[in-house]
C-alpha cells in the first residue's frame, strides 16, 4: 500500500472523557489486524493530540491520507473498525460520521496563533514539536539576540498579560531586566482558577513545549536561571505532560546547564497547587511557592523588584508565555497587526453555556461579541432568546444584548461593565436568572476569600446573605441600594484583586437587570423560574399523557396519578428538584 496515513486522536481532558485512549488503542488494533503496521514515523502513524477546541463534538478524529484531511465527530470505539476498513483500506470515507457545515463555521472566524499546534502535534513527543518549528525561537533568542533586543520585540508586539489584567508584558520584562540582583525568577501562572475557563489547561496539555520555550526566552531576557510553573492540582494531566516535556528538554539540552552550547543555564520546576483560587493572584502564588498559606501581601513593590523570596520575578500567564516563541519568530509587526491599536494578537476564550457550539476558540482582538456568539458559537441552544454573556469569571460581569457589538478588547469590555479576564465566556439565555447568577459568583468568591482583609472576608459574606435573602423571597425594599453601597466599599478597600473585583457580578447585574432584582424583591417572583423558593412545579393536565415517567423519577414521591390519566404534583411533598421537569418527554411538567 503506497499511502501516507496519519491518524490524530484527541486526548485532552475532554477527549479522554469521551474515550480517547480506548479509541487510540482500537485504531492500533484494527490497523494491525488489517496488516498495517502503525508506528509514529512510518507510512502509517497514530498520534495522540491535545485539545482540539470543539469538545462538544468529542471524540474528534482526523484521518489524513496523502495530505488530505477528513475529520470524524462523535467517534465511539465501535466505529473504528468501519472507519479503518472503508476509509483507510478501501478509500471511501464514511460520510455520515464526517463533521458537517457547522464544524467548519466554528473555525471560520477563528485565528489560531497560540492554538495553531494544539490538536495537531503529539504533546508527549518533543520531536513532534520540533518538526513544526519548535525551539527555533529559543535558539534564535539564545544565540542571536541580547536581552534588550528580546524585550524590545515583546514591547513592540503590544502583547498584554492574558491572565486578565492586561499589563503590557514587554514592560514587565524590562522592569525585571533593569532590577539588579544575583537571582531572578520566571514564574508561569498555570493556576487557572476562574470557573468556566480552560484555555490554559488546553495549552498545557496540548502544547506544553510552547510554554517552556516561552519561559526559556523570558529567562534569557531578564537573566534568570530558575523558573517555576505553578499548576492547579485539579489539572493532573497538565502536570503529567508538563513534567514529561521538561524531562525531554533536559535530555535534549533545551533545559539545564549550557543550553544549546551557549553557556546559558535555566531550570524549570513544577509546583502543584493545592486548591486555592486566591493563589492565582501574583503575591499569593509566590507565598504559596514559598511554602506558606497562599495569602496576598500588600504590593509595596512590583514583583519585578521584589517578588519570589524578595527577588526580581516575572510572573506571566500560560497563554502569554505560549505567545512568546511565535512573536520572536514572526516579528513584532506581524503580531501587533493581528489585534487592535492598544492590544496585539489574539485571545483564547472558553465559549460555553447556552450556545450551540461550545468549546475553545481563538480570535483576533477587536472581533465583536456578536460574531463570537452567533457566527462561531452558532447562536443560542434551542433557539431561545439571548440574555447576557458573562466574561471574566467571578471578577467580571454580565453584558446584555444591547452591547453585543462591543469590540473584544480590555478597555471596551471594561466600559460595558465587565472585564476581559482570563477568557471565560459563558452565554446565558432567557432561562437563566441573573440574581441567581450573581449569587453563584458570590458563593464562589465568598468561599475562596482568604480571610486576610476585612472588606473581602466580611463584605462578600454580607453580599451573599443579601442575595440569598432576595432569591428566597425575603428581599426588602432598599436591598438593591444596600448591595450597591456595600459593593463600592468592598471594591475600594480590599487588599487584592479578588476582593476588589468580587462585587462586579452584583454591580453589573443590577445595572442591566434591575427589573429582575425588583421582581424578586417586590413581586416575590423569579422571572426565569430558577430560584427554588419562588417557583412551583405543576403538570399541565391537557398535555399529560399519563405515562408515569415523572412519577418513577420523583425522589420525594410527590407525584400521584393512575396510568393514562393526567398526573398531579403534591406541592406539600415537592422538593422542587426539577427531576420531573427534565424527565417529561411531552413538556407537560411546567414551572412558574
Amino acid at each position: 500500500m503506497n499511502k501516507d496515513i496519519s491518524i490524530k486522536v484527541c486526548t485532552g481532558t475532554g477527549g479522554i472523557a469521551a474515550g480517547g485512549n480506548e479509541i487510540l488503542s482500537e485504531f492500533k488494533k484494527a490497523l494491525s489486524s488489517a496488516g498495517i503496521e502503525a508506528s509514529f514515523n512510518g507510512n502509517c502513524s497514530v498520534h495522540k493530540v491535545g485539545c482540539r477546541g470543539f469538545c462538544a463534538r468529542d471524540l474528534l478524529v482526523d484521518i489524513i491520507i496523502n495530505g488530505e484531511k477528513t475529520t470524524y465527530q462523535y467517534v465511539k470505539p465501535d466505529m473504528v473498525a468501519r472507519i479503518v476498513s472503508e476509509h483507510i483500506i478501501e478509500g471511501n470515507p464514511v460520510t455520515e460520521w464526517i463533521v458537517g457545515e457547522d464544524y467548519h463555521n466554528f473555525h471560520k472566524k477563528q485565528l489560531r496563533v497560540v492554538l495553531s499546534d494544539c490538536g495537531e502535534i503529539d504533546p508527549e513527543d518533543i520531536n513532534s514539536y520540533i518538526k513544526v518549528g519548535g525551539y527555533e525561537a529559543a535558539r534564535k533568542a539564545l544565540t542571536a539576540m541580547n536581552p534588550e533586543e528580546i524585550v524590545r520585540i515583546i514591547k513592540d508586539s503590544n502583547l498584554r498579560g492574558r491572565g486578565g489584567a492586561g499589563f503590557p508584558t514587554g514592560f514587565k520584562w524590562e522592569l525585571t531586566l533593569k532590577s539588579k540582583s544575583d537571582v531572578k525568577y520566571v514564574i508561569c501562572n498555570g493556576d487557572e482558577g476562574d470557573p468556566g475557563a480552560f484555555m490554559d489547561r488546553a495549552v498545557m496539555e496540548g502544547d506544553p513545549h510552547s510554554v517552556i520555550e516561552g519561559m526559556i526566552i523570558c529567562a534569557k531576557a531578564i537573566g534568570s536561571t530558575l523558573g517555576y510553573i505553578y499548576v492547579r492540582a485539579e489539572y493532573p494531566l497538565a502536570v503529567k505532560r508538563l513534567q514529561m516535556a521538561i524531562d525531554r528538554c533536559c535530555e535534549t539540552g533545551f533545559l539545564g546547564k549550557n543550553i544549546l552550547g551557549t553557556g546559558f543555564d535555566f531550570h524549570i520546576k513544577i509546583f502543584k497547587g493545592a486548591g486555592a483560587f486566591v493563589c492565582g493572584e501574583a503575591t499569593a502564588l509566590m507565598r504559596s511557592i514559598e511554602g506558606k498559606r497562599g495569602m496576598p501581601t500588600p504590593k509595596l513593590w512590583h514583583s519585578a523588584i521584589k517578588g519570589l523570596w524578595d527577588k526580581p520575578t516575572v510572573l506571566n500567564n500560560v497563554e502569554t508565555l505560549a505567545n512568546i516563541p511565535r512573536i520572536i519568530l514572526k516579528g513584532a509587526d506581524w503580531y501587533r497587526g493581528l489585534g487592535t491599536e492598544k492590544s496585539g494578537g489574539t485571545k483564547i476564550f472558553a465559549l460555553t453555556g447556552k450556545v450551540k457550539n461550545t468549546g475553545l476558540i481563538e480570535v483576533p482582538l477587536g472581533i465583536s461579541l456578536r460574531e463570537i456568539i452567533y457566527d462561531i458559537g452558532g447562536g443560542i441552544e434551542g433557539d431561545r432568546k439571548f440574555k447576557a454573556v458573562q466574561t471574566g469569571g467571578p471578577s467580571g460581569g454580565c453584558i446584555p444584548a444591547e452591547f453585543l457589538d462591543t469590540e473584544v478588547d480590555y478597555e471596551p469590555l471594561a466600559i460595558a461593565g465587565s472585564i476581559m479576564g482570563s477568557g471565560g465566556m459563558i452565554v446565558l439565555d432567557e432561562t437563566d436568572c441573573m440574581v441567581n447568577t450573581a449569587k453563584f459568583f458570590l458563593e464562589f468568591t465568598q468561599s475562596e476569600s482568604c480571610g486576610k482583609c476585612t472588606p473581602c472576608r466580611i463584605g462578600t459574606k454580607r453580599l451573599l446573605e443579601i442575595l440569598e435573602r432576595i432569591t428566597s423571597g425575603k428581599g426588602k425594599k432598599g436591598d438593591i441600594e444596600l448591595l450597591q453601597e456595600l459593593s463600592e466599599d468592598i471594591k475600594a478597600t480590599s487588599l487584592c484583586g479578588l476582593g476588589m473585583t468580587a462585587p462586579n457580578p452584583v454591580l453589573s447585574t443590577i445595572k442591566y437587570f434591575r427589573n429582575e432584582y425588583e421582581a424578586h424583591i417586590i413581586d416575590k417572583k423569579c422571572p426565569a423560574a430558577v430560584c427554588k423558593d419562588l417557583i412551583k412545579y405543576f403538570i399541565l393536565e391537557e398535555v399529560c399523557k399519563g405515562c408515569g415517567a415523572c412519577k418513577r423519577v420523583c425522589p420525594a414521591d410527590a407525584i400521584r396519578g393512575i396510568k393514562k390519566k393526567p398526573h398531579r404534583i403534591d406541592p406539600a411533598l415537592c422538593i422542587k428538584c426539577g427531576t420531573c421537569f427534565y424527565a417529561c418527554k411531552f413538556k407537560a411538567v411546567s414551572k412558574s
Binding site: G14, A56, G196, F271, K272, G294, F444
Partner: protein, 153 residues
C-alpha cells in the same frame, strides 16, 4: 505510619517550599492527613504543628478526615452550574444518604465533593469519578455507574 512517613521524608530536602508537596505526598499515600501524621511531621521537620495545620486548612485539597473509597467530584464551574450541576449534587446527597453537613457516607464507601472548576467546560456538566473525568453527566448515568461500583465490590 511512621515508616511510611519516613519514606516520604527521605526525598525531602529541607527547604520551606517543600512543605506543600510533602503534605501532598502524605495525602497521596494515606488517603488523608491524620492528626498523628501532622505531629510526626512537625517533630521530624522541626516545624510547629500550628504552621502545618495553618497550611492544611488553607488549601481545599487537604483533608483531615478519612474519605470514602470512591470519590465523586462534581464540578461547580459556571458552565456546569448553568447546565444543572447543582441539581446533580442535591440528588446525589439524597440518594447516597450522606449525613447533613458531611460529604462521606457512614460506611466510608462514597465521598461526594464539589470542585470549583476542572476546566472541562466544553462537556458540562462534568463529574470526576475515581479520577476519571466524565462529561455531559446526568443523574441517571451517574447512578448507573454508582450501582456498577456497588455491585463490583
Amino acid at each position: 505510619m511512621e515508616k511510611k512517613l519516613e519514606r516520604i521524608l527521605k526525598n525531602y530536602v529541607k527547604d520551606e517550599c517543600n512543605i506543600i508537596s510533602t503534605l501532598q505526598d502524605v495525602q497521596e499515600i494515606l488517603g488523608y492527613i491524620p492528626e498523628e501524621a501532622v505531629n510526626v511531621l512537625s517533630k521530624k521537620l522541626d516545624i510547629p504543628t500550628s504552621r502545618l495545620f495553618g497550611i492544611i486548612t488553607f488549601y481545599s485539597q487537604f483533608h483531615l478526615k478519612p474519605r470514602g473509597e470512591n470519590v465523586i467530584t462534581v464540578c461547580r464551574g459556571t458552565a456546569c452550574h448553568v447546565n444543572g450541576s447543582e441539581r446533580l449534587i442535591n440528588r446525589l446527597f439524597l440518594e447516597l444518604e450522606i449525613p447533613p453537613g458531611g460529604d462521606t457516607t457512614d460506611d466510608l464507601r462514597f465521598t461526594v465533593e464539589k470542585v470549583n472548576c476542572i476546566g472541562a467546560c466544553g462537556i458540562a456538566p462534568a463529574v470526576v469519578l475515581n479520577n476519571k473525568v466524565r462529561g455531559k453527566m446526568t443523574f441517571e448515568k451517574l447512578m448507573r455507574e454508582i450501582r456498577n461500583i456497588k455491585a463490583g465490590e
